[in-house]
């Protein structure tokens, strides 16, 4: 509910702007923050146009949205504090761009049963999905799946590597 409100506010401001003197420059900056886009002011939300602008933000290495991985502690499924801003940024982005779709791939380290590790990876991707939904993303936008221990980022056998592989990876449509 909050973002439709924001969007109508934005439209309102633009209409008012048209009718009179242009608004001060900081208006653009605040809109940019809201939608977490670096592509400048966004006049009207149009799915086709948005796609390009949104993906650019997703690829910009200076933008937090270009970061996609959330690491988890051993045997844990809660999102650590350090990853909260990342989850928030993506949650808001999904909320502001309801046409965007996301696939979350959860993973586990290689120790133990492949099938149980698949379930652990799922628990991690679900944790990310739930958090994104609490931030306004819609159920239909996100699919959470698991890769278990099958697609490790790191193949060495040490705790650092295992930690690297206990992750949730957020991918937008077109990236997987």
């Amino acid at each position: 509910m909050r973002y439709p409100l924001a969007a109508s506010m934005l439209a309102l401001a633009l209409l008012a702007g048209c009718s009179s003197t242009p608004m001060t420059a900081d208006q653009g900056a605040s809109v940019e923050d809201r939608t977490a886009s670096s592509a400048g002011t966004i006049p009207t939300v149009r799915p086709d146009q948005m796609q390009g602008a949104g993906l650019a933000a997703l690829r910009d290495p200076n933008n937090i949205l270009s970061k996609r991985a959330i690491m988890f502690d051993y045997d844990s499924f809660t999102i650590r504090g350090e990853f909260m801003p990342l989850v928030e940024a993506h949650g808001r982005f999904l909320a502001a761009n309801p046409q965007m779709k996301m696939l979350i791939q959860g993973s586990a380290d290689e120790r133990g049963s492949r099938e149980y590790n698949l379930a652990l990876g799922q628990k991690r991707s679900d944790a990310v999905k739930k958090s994104l939904m609490l931030l306004g993303a819609k159920e239909g936008q996100i699919e959470s799946v698991s890769l278990g221990e099958e697609k490790p980022q790191c193949t060495e056998r040490n705790e650092a590597c295992y930690a690297e592989n206990r992750r949730g990876e957020m991918l937008y449509a077109g990236e997987f």
């Binding site: 133990g112 049963s113 099938e115 149980y116 698949l118 379930a119 990876g121 698991s146 890769l147 278990g148």
Partner: protein, 425 residues
């Protein structure tokens, strides 16, 4: 006559008896055998030299590889089916049984094999059989004969004629392969650039269910081996995994995450008729039917650590089965209903364990520390599993009493996810 007392595990390394072909096939090495192996003589068959490839070699290597038999050397002289063997001499050679036979040409390029098996102490015939074969069928014919000898002497069904499925990973390629139980004749059923896990044989041996990641997420397929046709058995939102056939072959237990956490369902092999099997607020996975279809054994973390539980297929409360240790997974009830094999984490790592279903007594069967995916032979006597030796995935087998050990490996590749097929029909 039966081998009633089976023997404590003795680390006796025997050399590999299997002939290695040029193709990358599984080679089997016996790494432990029973201390008290049954001495048997397999004579060359009269007229066997007519065959391009001999049958008795196959019989001999099957029996020796089983770890339950020792072969008494009989020399190159054939003994025909009509000749009464010299029992007194055989006894002095230490042979408790002898197989003899005759090969005669039959119609249309085929051959007829007439075999007899004798008990040298009782001086009595144990079995007599006649088989017809083409020269190309020398291996399967040898396996059939070995099955009969094994069954006559041990009282258990022989499994030399069965097949095994497993996944080979070489580089970025994953291959789901089917081979004879001795690793010969490997055939690739599926080749993919994405992982393949959890193959499960239909009870009639015609189909394999498995999980493939080719759609960038786990999806359960049912693959008819003869035709190569595949049906999607489960492709719901989220992950689809851990297929396991019901004993009647009509249903497939699977794990889906469409309603959130990993939960167990049953589906028809064509993907229709999804029914929830149980409901919990934890991970429930790796379902496996008991031989009679009464129970589903599964892994759950409802108690804070992964443990094995079972639930009646009629519904009801889940009952915890494992209590020792903090990690017990991958339950596999034996085909005879007596035992259950699983993976237990011990001080030495992940090891194959076996539990007596009635008494809940358990034992660790292996001395390796990265064991996975146990799979019972159809006679419940051996357990095939994946492990790691020298940083490479290999398959290994251990007898249910822990005494006989074999290792199966493919050169320069990782082998994993084994599944032992049913008895041929």
């Amino acid at each position: 006559m039966k081998l009633t007392d089976l023997f404590r595990y003795l680390l006796i390394t025997l050399l590999a008896a299997t002939a290695l072909s040029a193709r990358a096939q599984l080679s089997i090495e016996i790494t432990g055998a029973g201390a008290n192996r049954f001495p048997v003589a397999i004579a060359v068959m009269e007229g066997e030299s007519q065959l391009p490839r001999g049958v008795t070699d196959v019989v001999r290597s099957d029996l020796e590889r089983s770890g339950l038999f020792s072969l008494v050397e009989m020399g190159p002289k054939p003994i025909g089916e009509t000749v009464m063997p010299d029992f007194a001499y055989l006894r002095t050679r230490g042979a408790d049984a002898i197989a003899v036979g005759t090969v005669v040409p039959a119609q249309s390029g085929k051959y007829e094999l007439r075999m007899r098996l004798y008990d040298t102490r009782q001086e009595a015939q144990l079995d007599a059989l006649t088989l017809t074969m083409t020269p190309a069928q020398y291996r399967i014919t040898g396996h059939k004969i070995a099955d009969i000898i094994y069954e006559r002497i041990t009282g258990l069904k022989g499994v030399f004629s069965t097949q095994i499925a497993y996944v080979v990973k070489s580089g970025k390629q994953y291959k789901l392969q089917i081979a004879d139980s001795d690793g010969a004749n490997p055939q690739t059923a599926l080749a993919s650039n994405e992982p393949i896990i959890s193959p499960s044989w239909s009870p009639d041996g015609s189909r394999l269910a498995y999980v493939s990641f080719e759609a960038k997420k786990p999806v359960v397929y049912v693959h008819t081996l003869a035709t190569g046709l595949r049906a999607v058995a489960a492709n719901f939102k989220g992950s689809n995994s851990a297929p396991s056939w019901s004993p009647d072959g009509n249903r497939l237990a699977v794990v889906l995450t469409k309603d959130g956490l990993s939960q167990m369902y049953t589906v028809n092999p064509d993907g229709s008729g999804v029914t929830r099997l149980a409901s919990s607020s934890s991970i429930d996975t790796e379902p496996a039917f008991s031989h009679d279809g009464q129970w589903i054994y599964f892994t759950s973390d409802r108690g804070g650590s992964p443990q094995i539980y079972r639930i009646s297929t009629q519904g009801g409360r889940a009952e915890r089965v494992t209590f020792e240790g903090s990690y017990n997974v991958t339950p596999r009830p034996s085909p005879d209903g007596q035992t259950m094999s699983y993976i237990a984490r011990t001080a030495n790592g992940f090891q194959i364990a076996i539990m007596d279903v009635a008494t809940r007594q358990f034992a660790i069967l292996t001395d390796t520390g990265r064991d996975e995916s146990p799979s019972f032979a159809p006679n419940s006597r051996m357990i095939l599993y994946a492990t790691e030796i020298g940083g490479r995935g290999v398959l290994a087998a251990v007898s249910s009493d822990g005494r006989i050990k074999q290792r199966l490996s493919v050169q320069a590749a990782d082998v994993r996810e084994p599944a032992w097929g049913p008895l041929p029909r």
